[in-house]
């Protein structure tokens, strides 16, 4: 019996003992009707071949291990960025349990969201009554300042009309007539979570700027000098938004963060549960129409939102999750150009420190090959940084990337001598990536937590950057934007490179000559 009270063994060690090993071997042999081990080995090897890759890439219908989620997740993420706002997802309730779990597992934070809990009768008759009751309950129980409505695919398939439903709910007294209930249709069978972010944010902005679904006058833009800032769907929203606020502060820019969820996803443990914390105030959301310009850090999270804003007469500028020196330069210079504010010396010094760090360490990164997967903008940001480090982003893959994105990545490759042998994969999944890593190996893989399966199968060391990160803690509290953020990314990459070198040079009397104390 391996278990002991003195030294409690948990699953790491318990099942490795001979009792359990014998038991599991017997189970397999006697009852599982296992495949011939030689056959398993044959297929395992075959799945590494170019031949398998060809079949794998010929897939037309099956998706295996995709790196994307569905629209309402993004809608919920955006909604909680507004002051005392509850996301209300109209449709089946299980979806909401999933979004809340998903966000909580990444941020290690509570995630509040309600559902209209539609069931079979609503599938037949529509979900109007669910909306009427649901809004009334949410309003009374959680006293939100705003309820932001989005939809699951169930409500979309049966064609529920949010605008009409919300109007009727107000007539029935679920919430006051003038209460803010912005909405967005977010069908899960179109786009991905970044699309849902875009739709939800556009819904909120259109609500405040364009007459609250025909119930008030549209706002007249009276231009001021403020800058609106949109972060997009971002697993690093906590660290990034704070860093951006610091930068704005250093530059003396008056700003509005639209959908600022950096507080609600990082509340203190001090005896109080804050269902709401921080967020863009509703007044700020409305007043944002008057801003001079709107900056989006993620083009593909704001494909519909930015044009709506531009229609109201503002300048808009979109970036692709800028990471590193030149991407941050571009971001700051754009800010400076739009606002007329100079970039302060302090930021120039931060830039110099990042360049200093790159100079100190680039020998360890230069020429290394990387595979990257993630959301479209993050992929662009990371690939751009790797190129300026002299590394090669050999495979760049976004399951939710489209043709325009692929062209943009290709243009990035073409802009650098280090991009010459790099390839972009739009709409592919992590099973495609597996074939790529076997047939065209790289030195490191950058991706989210699910990349650990690729690391295990292909031996490619994983650097965890992306969303979701479930199995490492607190990295979302660090920025990846700004020069400081670039330094964080540089350190994460370097740490993994050094760990990898140490782990492959530590066999005594065999490889230990490279087990250097100074690197």
């Amino acid at each position: 019996m391996p278990q002991s009270a003195e030294h409690v063994l948990d699953h790491f060690d318990l099942f490795r003992g001979p009792e359990y090993q014998q038991m599991l071997a017997n189970k397999k042999k006697m009852f599982e009707n296992p495949r011939d081990p030689a056959e398993v080995e044959r297929v395992r090897e075959w799945a590494k071949t170019p031949e398998y890759r060809e079949k794998n890439f010929a897939r037309e219908a099956l998706t295996v291990n995709p790196a994307k989620a569905c629209q309402p997740l993004g809608a919920v993420f955006a909604a909680v960025g507004f002051e005392q706002t509850i996301p209300f997802v109209h449709g089946s309730q299980g979806c909401v349990a999933y979004y809340r779990s998903h966000l909580s597992r990444h941020f290690k934070e509570p995630s509040s969201c309600v559902s209209s809990s539609m069931t079979e009768d609503a599938a037949v008759f529509g979900g109007l009554n669910n909306m009427i009751d649901g809004l009334a309950n949410t309003y009374n129980m959680y006293k939100p300042k705003m309820i932001a409505v989005s939809t699951t695919c169930m409500a979309e398939v049966i064609g529920d009309d949010l605008n009409a439903f919300i109007k009727t709910s107000k007539e029935k007294g679920s919430v006051p007539e003038d209460y803010d209930v912005p909405f967005a249709h977010t069908p899960a069978f179109v786009g991905s979570h970044v699309t849902g972010y875009d739709n939800a944010l556009k819904g909120v902005i259109a609500h405040f700027w364009d007459g609250k679904a025909g119930t008030t006058a549209k706002l007249e833009r009276k231009a001021n000098d403020k800058i609106n800032f949109i972060g997009g769907f971002d697993g690093y929203t906590v660290g990034n938004t704070r860093e951006v606020k610091r930068i704005f502060g250093l530059m003396g820019i008056d700003y509005t963060i639209l959908a600022d969820n950096s507080e609600v996803f990082d509340t203190p443990t001090d005896g109080e549960f804050r269902m709401y914390d921080g967020g863009t105030t509703l007044e700020e959301a409305a007043d944002a129409i008057n801003a001079k310009a709107t900056i989006s850090m993620q083009e593909y999270c704001t494909e519909k939102t930015l044009p709506l804003i531009a229609e109201h007469g503002q300048e808009v500028a979109a970036f692709n999750h800028p990471i590193g020196v030149s991407a941050t330069d571009k971001f700051l210079m754009t800010l400076s150009r739009i606002t007329g504010k100079p970039i302060p010396e302090e930021l120039a010094r931060e830039r110099g420190r990042l360049v200093d760090a790159v100079a100190d360490s680039s020998a360890h990164i230069h020429g290394k090959k990387f595979a990257i997967y993630g959301d479209p903008d993050l992929c662009l940001g990371l690939a751009g940084f790797l190129l300026e480090l002299g590394a090669e982003p050999t495979h760049v893959l976004a399951t939710n990337g489209g043709k325009a994105w692929a062209a943009k990545v290709q243009a990035l490759f073409d802009s650098s001598p280090f991009g010459q042998n790099c390839h972009v994969y739009a709409g592919k999944d992590l099973w495609h990536m597996r074939s790529l890593l076997f047939t065209e190996p790289v030195d490191f893989l950058i991706g989210n937590t699910y990349g650990k399966y690729l690391e295990r199968d292909t031996g490619t060391p994983l650097i965890r950057i992306g969303f979701p990160i479930f199995d490492r803690h607190h990295h979302h509290r660090y920025p990846v934007w700004g020069y400081q953020g670039g330094l964080n990314v540089l350190v994460w990459v370097l740490d993994r490179i050094f760990e990898s070198i140490d782990a492959t040079t530590n066999v005594p009397a065999k490889s230990d000559y490279s087990f250097d104390i100074i690197r």
Partner: protein, 500 residues
């Protein structure tokens, strides 16, 4: 931390009743009336807990429940390791449930084993408009080509499937025929069906009956020689290895476990189960249906058991042994005796640290009652409990065998109610799920996830109890809870505060 350790049962009942009245005030009248039926103070001697259950959640209240898809793919089918489970519909359902439930298994993932993979038809708008049957057929072909060692396929329907009129049964039948009778199982577990995960369990059970059992040729030779001691573990999902730390005890007492449902399970094990002499059922809620079916059709008796904590484990081992001869009965006694010193040592170490601590639970369909004995073995007291998707038969079992007089009972609790209850009762520990974890930790209340074992486990069996005890101790007695208030903040704040 409990502020009311000296309350009498009558005082506790009064407090709990007042608490229920108080939380109901927040609701509109119609909702208050409906929610009132789900909240109660348990009265000793009553046959159930006096709450309504397994009825629709109320819109907008922040129910903790999931859906039928979660019950089928996430619970029953997902852990069957040598089959490929297609999340059929849009990408999200499969994505959010991907490898999230910690159903441990042994196998070469991606080659002969597929549990921690996300296979999806990733529905696009055109699939909704034109139907997804052709795509599904093609997916099965692609699976056969790229994953040739899979032993079967299931189709886990997401919401749109039942709404757009797809005929997944026809596709499954045709493809099964094309692939020489391959097991292909269509499951109608669309998320809008039923009121929670529970109907998904039932639908998944029925799918095993219809598409696995009923396809077995009656004259098929068994893959192994039967023995009089063959049992199947039903309703253990091997979370953190639970089924393994259970199986070892059954084998040590002389039984032979021929199947695990469904943690670390395989299609062959499902198919072999009608040969069992006894089905031992852990999660009654999710697998009583198939157990009853096997009893009716194959004459296999089934026996509920509880492997949380030494008291219930010993009771269960004896109960299981009672279905067999003296050899097994003696075996059970030997197993109990063998582990007694370990249990004594675990309790000697942890009970003094946990004695008198109070717990509030809110879990799925089994643990709200099943873990109570394990807490009591450590001298702890469960003062409130409720089921996410239990039925009245669960509340009967809870009332008759588990909870104490005056326990607060909350069925399908809402976020608001749960926060208020914990704020007022101030238990030393809350055991619930990931969505609840950080809410209560922010409030300064120690918490353990009781679905995933908070990434620990196993908790089943004697080996598991040592881990359970350690984990409860580390949760409650972590020094972090003494640091939640800044020392320079002197004003008296309420100990706990829920969001208003």
């Amino acid at each position: 931390m409990s502020v009311s350790p000296t309350l009498s049962v009558a005082e506790i009942k009064d407090r709990n009743k007042a608490l229920i009245e108080e939380v109901l005030k927040v609701y509109p009248e119609k909702t208050a009336k409906r929610r009132a039926k789900h909240l109660n103070v348990h009265q000793e001697g009553k046959p159930d807990c006096g709450v309504k259950s397994n009825i629709k959640s109320i819109p907008g209240v922040m129910t903790i429940r999931g859906c039928a898809y979660a019950g089928s793919k996430g619970v029953v089918w997902g852990p069957i390791k040598d089959m490929i489970h297609i999340s059929h519909g849009p990408v999200g359902c499969g994505q959010y449930s991907w490898a999230a439930r910690r159903n441990y298994y042994i196998g070469t993932t991606g080659i002969d084993t597929f549990v921690t993979m996300q296979f999806t038809s990733d529905f696009q708008e055109k699939d909704i408009v034109f139907g997804g049957d052709k795509k599904l057929a093609k997916i099965m072909d692609e699976i056969q080509e790229l994953f040739p060692l899979n032993n079967g396929i299931t189709v886990q329907s997401e919401c749109p499937i039942g709404l757009i009129g797809d005929d997944i049964e026809a596709v499954s039948k045709a493809k099964s025929k094309e692939y020489d009778g391959k097991t292909i199982v269509p499951v109608r577990c669309e998320g809008f069906r039923g009121v929670s995960q529970s109907l998904g369990h039932h639908i998944a059970n029925d799918a095993i009956r219809d598409w696995v059992f009923d396809k077995i040729a009656p004259d098929a030779a068994p893959r192994f020689e039967p023995t009089p001691y063959d049992v199947a573990i039903i309703g253990d999902y091997n979370i953190g290895g639970d089924a393994w730390s259970s199986r070892i005890l059954l084998e040590e007492m002389g039984l032979r476990v021929i199947a695990q449902w469904s943690g670390d399970g395989s299609l062959a094990e499902l198919e072999a189960t009608p040969k069992a002499k006894l089905n031992v059922l852990h999660c009654y809620r999710s697998m009583n249906y198939i157990s009853r079916h096997m009893e009716e059709k194959y004459g296999i008796p089934w026996c509920e058991y509880n492997f949380f904590g030494p008291s219930k484990i010993a009771e269960s081992l004896r109960k299981i042994a009672s279905y067999f001869d003296d050899k097994i009965k003696e075996g059970a006694e030997q197993v109990i005796a063998k582990y007694q010193p370990l249990m004594d040592a675990v309790i000697a170490k942890y009970r003094p640290r946990l004695e008198g601590k109070t717990v509030m639970l809110f879990v799925g369909g089994l643990r709200p009652r099943h873990v109570i004995g394990a807490y009591e073995d450590l001298g702890m007291e469960v003062v409130g409990t409720g089921y996410e998707f239990g039925h009245n038969d669960d509340y009967q079992r809870t009332a008759q065998h588990y909870v104490k007089d005056g326990t607060l009972i909350y069925d399908d609790v809402t976020g608001y109610e749960f926060e208020k209850f914990v704020e007022k009762i101030q238990p030393d520990l809350v055991g619930s799920g990931i969505k609840e974890k950080y809410v209560f930790q922010k409030m300064g209340v120690p918490f353990r996830q009781m679905h995933s074992w908070d990434y620990s486990g196993p908790y089943h069996g004697y080996d598991g109890f040592a881990i359970f005890a350690r984990d409860m101790d580390m949760a409650i007695n972590s020094p972090v809870w003494k640091m939640t208030k800044a020392p320079w903040k002197t004003e008296e704040l309420p100990l706990l505060q829920a969001a208003e």
